[in-house]
């Protein structure tokens, strides 16, 4: 294989991985943008969404592969997204909302509690053994020149691009999106202008959780579904959000893709052992915090007294 083909191969792998991180990072960044708070349970919401998607898919798909399995796959994904959105809103209502006026530490601790409850409830109800999600199509790779690309990767790219464009349009163009931006900018003023901030916050949680469920369901095809699947993925997506500039939606997209590329090329070209792949993200986090703590696209925030 020529070196340029090899390069494009890694680029392809990095982009798909990065797209996944970006989808998850969006949830962190949107919530942080409005509430200035890290939703630790985000990765676990992803896990629950993947389980629900898996159950729906297993229930409705037939025996043989065909157009129906692909439709069934998307129906299952939608089911997982809706369930996660509801779960995200419920968690916000029960565990975070009473703590809005509390110290900074309180919602963080509560979120860690929620994360722990979700992952252990899942292990309790559904067992710790990982479950396989079958491909809805024949996943043998296609070749473009010497570069191989699997239908799974194509699926990821399409879904990620569609999701990102629609989110961007929603936030930039729609009325609710405008209200979201206003709430994120200044919650009190937004309330005075007649924006129902509580409703906007609930919607933000719903959208973030649904995106996480989508990402979870997409990677479940490769890494299977298990109760702690959200932990590491969630952490890395958070790093992506920080790298891009937390609170900034375009930043999360850029950060996610950058992190995906960094991991793929780090292992392939820099010779970082595969076992230490997860460490790359944290080294990136430390470096970005040292050099440019506001992230690539973030604004410098001066704290006022």
């Amino acid at each position: 294989m020529g070196s340029s083909a090899e390069f494009f191969q890694h680029l392809m792998n990095g982009l798909t991985l990065g797209g996944i991180y970006a989808l998850i990072a969006l949830g962190y960044t949107m919530v942080y943008g409005i509430l200035k708070f890290i939703n630790f349970a985000h990765g676990d919401i992803l896990m629950v969404g993947s389980y629900i998607g898996l159950f729906i898919f297993d229930a409705i798909r037939g025996q043989s592969l065909g157009p129906w399995t692909i439709i069934a796959f998307f129906i299952a994904m939608l089911g997982g997204m809706i369930f996660s959105a509801g779960l995200g809103m419920a968690i916000e209502r029960i565990a975070y909302k009473p703590l809005r006026k509390a110290t900074r530490l309180a919602p963080l601790l509560s979120a860690i509690g929620v994360s722990f409850i979700l992952s252990n409830m899942a292990a309790w109800m559904w067992g710790t053994k990982s479950r396989k999600l079958e491909y809805p199509f024949d996943n043998s790779p296609l070749y473009i020149g010497e570069v191989s690309i699997t239908p799974h990767q194509i699926l990821i790219l399409i879904v990620v691009i569609v999701m990102m464009i629609s989110l961007k349009l929603f936030v930039d163009r729609s009325r609710i999106g405008k209200a979201m931006r206003a709430t994120s900018l200044d919650q009190d003023t937004a309330k005075l202008m007649g924006i129902k901030a509580d409703r906007i916050i609930a919607i933000t949680f719903a959208i973030g959780s649904a995106l996480a469920a989508t990402a979870g369901f997409l990677i479940a095809l490769e890494i299977k579904v298990y109760p702690s699947m959200g932990t590491m993925t969630g952490l890395k997506a958070f790093v992506a959000a920080v790298v891009g500039g937390i609170g900034n939606i375009s930043g999360a997209m850029v950060g996610g893709i950058l992190l995906g590329l960094l991991e793929t090329f780090g292992v392939a070209l820099l010779g970082i052992p595969y076992g230490l792949r997860d460490t790359i993200a944290f080294v990136a986090l430390i470096i970005i915090l040292l050099v440019k703590p506001e992230g690539l696209l973030g604004k410098v925030e001066k704290e006022k007294v």
Binding site: T103, S110, I112, G113, V114, F116, I117, N120
Partner: protein, 304 residues
């Protein structure tokens, strides 16, 4: 039965050490650190490797374990503590996972997932403290707890402790009073890490073996629960919290229901404790210790 209660008390002591450290970081400075398990692991492995591979005496490995844990605390603390507290939580969470990852993979030094067995027992003045004779070990562990308690309590009442509380209440105001916030935060973090290292060292000579599987995120969560349940910013409360959490975690075995109650039950309970305490009683069972010297004087004089 008595043996089992002694076992719970020994673990209470080991975890109380970690909780005391966590209390300094979370209760006093108001920072969320999620990696007591990581420092615990570093301390354990330091003692295990030095005493098994290099034949060191336990008492020589102990300071190395503490310093090594403190050094790593310094390494993660320095970049993250300059910024807002939220990043520390993520960085420390990641650090804990990385430590376990490395312990699992660095076969040459740590023997991978198998861990290190046959750690020599402690001896004091030629007397062997066997973990099988639980009374001796219990006393040893609690001597450490009492020393740590007194030291940290002293530290909290000193100028340093007041500086830490000032940082928690308002970092900008504290800085404008001339307190170097970053330096104090890093020191608090390093002290917290060191004592977790000591706890790890003790655990290694109690179980006489170390495996990476012991040092999961669950350990950090348990320690956090101890602090939150007992009361942030109150060292007595934290020791009480350590006892309560250990008791809850061994309750199924204690009443002989360990086949009925699934292992996840207590973990769900720990999660619930965090959420419920934050919503209804954020100050914990005992609450923050109130102690302002001028106030006390005033009360005494004013009540006549």
């Amino acid at each position: 039965m008595l043996n089992f209660i002694l076992l719970i008390l020994i673990y209470t002591g080991i975890y109380a050490l970690m909780a005391v450290g966590q209390n300094l970081i979370t209760g006093y400075v108001g920072l969320l650190s999620l990696t007591q398990a990581g420092f615990f692991a570093i301390g354990s492995y330091a003692t295990a490797i030095l005493s098994v591979t290099y034949g060191w005496n336990f008492w020589m490995t102990l300071p190395v374990a503490a310093i090594l844990a403190g050094f790593f605390g310094f390494l993660i603390g320095l970049p993250t503590l300059r910024l807002k507290g939220d990043y520390l939580a993520i960085a420390t969470l990641g650090f804990g996972e990385i430590v376990r990852n490395i312990l699992n993979n660095w076969d040459k030094l740590t023997n991978g997932p198998m861990g290190i067995q046959r750690i020599p027992m402690i001896s004091i003045f030629g007397m062997r403290v066997s973990p099988y004779a639980k009374w001796g070990f219990l006393i040893l562990v609690w001597v450490f707890v009492v020393i740590a308690y007194l030291l940290f309590e002293r530290l909290a009442r000193s100028r340093i402790g007041r500086a830490l509380e000032a940082i928690r209440e308002d970092e900008i105001a504290a800085s404008s009073m001339g307190i170097n916030a970053t330096r104090y935060k890093v020191w608090a973090f390093v002290f917290g890490a060191m004592i977790a290292g000591i706890a790890g060292s003790l655990q290694a000579v109690f179980i006489l073996s170390v495996t990476p599987g012991v040092f999961t995120f669950m350990v950090s969560i348990m320690v956090l629960c101890m602090v939150v349940l007992g009361g942030m910013g109150n060292f007595k409360a934290v020791v009480l919290g350590a006892f309560l959490i250990q008791f809850v975690s061994y309750f199924p075995q204690l009443v002989g229901l360990s086949n009925v109650i699934p292992p996840q039950f207590k973990q769900v309970l720990f999660g619930l404790i965090l959420v419920v305490m934050m919503i209804w009683r954020p100050q914990g069972i005992l609450g923050r210790e109130q102690r302002s010297a001028p106030g006390r004087l005033f009360k005494k004089g004013g009540r006549s």
